[in-house]
């Protein structure tokens, strides 16, 4: 095992290669450019293909093609490129093609601020394409070490569920530096709880079963299985159909293979929640690290605070949230996105602290916790006169 001090972009690259990545395509964008740069150097010697695409839409389509050819495939971008993924993302969902997608969130809207962290694609990652009739799987690492393990996990989930998996990182995760360990091979990775199963191919002929079962092997074309794939509603054999009954079976599968197995996806971390605290800090990504420090510090000062660090965002894990408790949601945006889901899931009072471009400090979170404990909205949110 090697111990490195490097960035999240480097960790994602190393993890993907360890996971058996066969094809990477992307288009450079801050703060995810170094994934492409590292891949261009590291992937070909490891036996994989690197391709710089003409744009993000093409990049994702190429990854789809590689995945249909039986390779583990990946693409990476930031918010302005993630919106361009909309068309191929739908393809990959509808035709159940495993692809790992990285979105290193920066500050928006539009091009926003390039080299600073944001969290603006919480909902976009849930609805990354048109048409409805699907669930998505979205993971959220809080740092470099977790970006490494989560990338390996993403490939496993993408194949188990036959769907694209988005790693929704932020700039502090991809550009931030941290110590992390790289196992020497799949054997060592498995011993560390990061199994890397062999890529499989569906033998046919019923490639698209109308059930919620997972671990159905992916469809691979051109390997003598007679696999079929198109962007229309498929029959179970993969032929185009316009039958409403077929669409119902297909949509059932796309939604419920994920919804009914959501427990297999979650790795969220609960801190200081054992004594059912009345006040809970909720966050994902890099703010989770500050939130944990703040929760510990608040406890040391006699305030009964717990913390929920979400590691998977979609499907949303409602069961994590204690009913009718007060929550303070911390996000790297000013509008509040996660806060809406927490309100729905908890049914309690939910307050919001938004920052953009940099992390809140522990001191700021402590002040906000004090405000919320006293029954008022965080003073650090100018204009937010009421609870969420």
């Amino acid at each position: 095992m090697r111990r490195l001090f490097d960035t999240g972009n480097a960790a994602i690259t190393e993890a993907a290669i360890l996971a058996g990545l066969g094809f990477y395509s992307g288009y450079p964008i801050t703060p995810a450019t170094e994934i492409a740069e590292n891949m261009s150097r590291r992937l070909p010697p490891a036996g994989g293909y690197y391709l710089q695409a003409e744009d993000e839409t093409a990049a994702f389509h190429m990854a789809i093609g590689a995945s249909l050819g039986g390779l583990r495939a990946m693409t990476s971008t930031s918010g302005p490129g993630f919106v361009l993924y909309a068309d191929p993302y739908g393809w990959a969902i509808g035709s159940e093609i495993p692809v790992v997608v990285v979105n290193a969130q920066r500050v928006g809207p539009v091009s926003g601020i390039t080299g600073a962290p944001g969290q603006g694609e919480f909902y976009l990652s849930r609805y990354p394409t048109h048409g409805g009739n699907f669930e998505t799987i979205v993971l959220a690492p809080e740092g470099v070490r977790e970006a490494f393990s989560m990338t390996i996990e993403a490939f496993r989930l993408a194949e188990r569920f036959r769907t694209p998996v988005t790693i929704l990182a932020d700039q502090l995760v991809t550009d931030g530096w941290e110590a992390f360990e790289v196992p020497e091979g799949p054997g060592e990775a498995e011993a560390l709880g990061l199994p890397i199963p062999a890529r499989r191919a569906h033998p046919g002929p019923e490639f698209y079963p109308p059930t919620d079962e997972i671990d159905v092997p992916p469809v691979v074309l051109g390997r003598g299985t007679g696999g079929a794939c198109s962007d229309w509603t498929p029959t179970e054999e993969g032929y185009d159909t316009e039958e409403v009954e077929a669409q119902m079976r297909h949509a059932f599968r796309l939604v419920y293979k994920i919804r009914n197995n959501r427990g297999l996806i979650d790795r969220s971390e609960l801190l200081l929640m054992e004594d059912d605290p009345g006040l809970v800090l909720v966050s994902y990504g890099s703010p989770s690290r500050v939130a944990r420090s703040a929760a510990r510090e608040a406890r040391a000062r006699g305030l009964r605070v717990g913390a929920i660090s979400l590691k998977s965002l979609w499907p949303f894990q409602d069961r994590l949230f204690p009913r009718h408790r007060t929550h303070l949601v911390v996000e790297l945006n000013r509008d509040g996105q996660l806060v809406r889901e927490v309100q729905r899931a908890s049914g309690g009072r939910v307050h919001f602290l938004g920052r953009c471009g940099e992390l809140p400090t522990v001191a700021e979170l402590l002040e906000a916790l004090g405000d919320v404990a006293a029954g008022q909205a965080p003073r650090a949110m100018p204009g937010a006169r009421e609870s969420w």
């Binding site: 490195l4 001090f5 601020i113 530096w177 941290e178 110590a179 500050v290 703040a294």
Partner: protein
């Protein structure tokens, strides 16, 4: 007792602030410690700052933010003016050739003549960052100096010998600063 140290290194672009931070982080990792680093830049085209926030601990690091740095290194006036107030409880090292300290700040501060030392002893100010790193590592005390040397040697693409010489010069400077055993906070 778990410990945590926050180091805030700052200057302007091109001074090697980030390389100094990487070297410190890598050295900590080589010494089996935990380390994080956040790098950020001001958005100004001129007169901006580069900031490297390094956290080192003997256990897993939660917040990677150096919000109350134990050591604050300022290699430019803009960085000093912007971040000096954070170091009220820590030690500020400023390069007096580049920074005019302003009165009224809380906390200890000392002139670390990194650029002058590099120019006089090595004939280049390019290695001033390594002089500064040497002093930071000395004052910090929790990362073994030989690990810092190994890290600098590994990360120096060019000018490895000069960087190592500069590091040694910085480590040898006795400015009288040290974090006492009680300084730095629990993790």
């Amino acid at each position: 007792m778990a410990w945590r140290r926050e180091i805030l290194l700052s200057g302007f672009g091109g001074q090697g602030v980030v390389l100094a931070g990487r070297s410190l982080g890598l050295a900590a990792v080589k010494a089996d410690l935990e380390a994080t680093m956040l790098v950020s830049h001001g958005t100004e085209t001129r007169g901006g700052y580069v900031r490297s926030q390094v956290v080192i601990s003997d256990r897993e690091i939660d917040s990677p933010v150096a919000e109350r740095p134990d050591i604050f290194l300022a290699l430019s006036q803009a960085a000093y003016d912007r971040f000096r107030h954070l170091a009220a409880e820590g030690l500020t090292l400023f390069d007096g050739g580049l920074v005019r300290p302003s009165p009224g700040h809380q906390g200890r501060e000392m002139d670390l003549p990194a650029r002058a030392v590099a120019l006089e002893r090595l004939g280049t100010d390019l290695a001033a960052n390594m002089v500064a790193l040497g002093q930071v590592a000395r004052v910090l005390g929790v990362v073994p100096l030989d690990a810092v040397r190994t890290a600098v040697a590994e990360l120096s693409k060019r000018g490895r010998d000069k960087n190592l010489a500069a590091l040694a010069l910085g480590q040898a400077l006795d400015l009288g600063g040290a974090l006492s055993a009680g300084e730095g906070r629990g993790a």
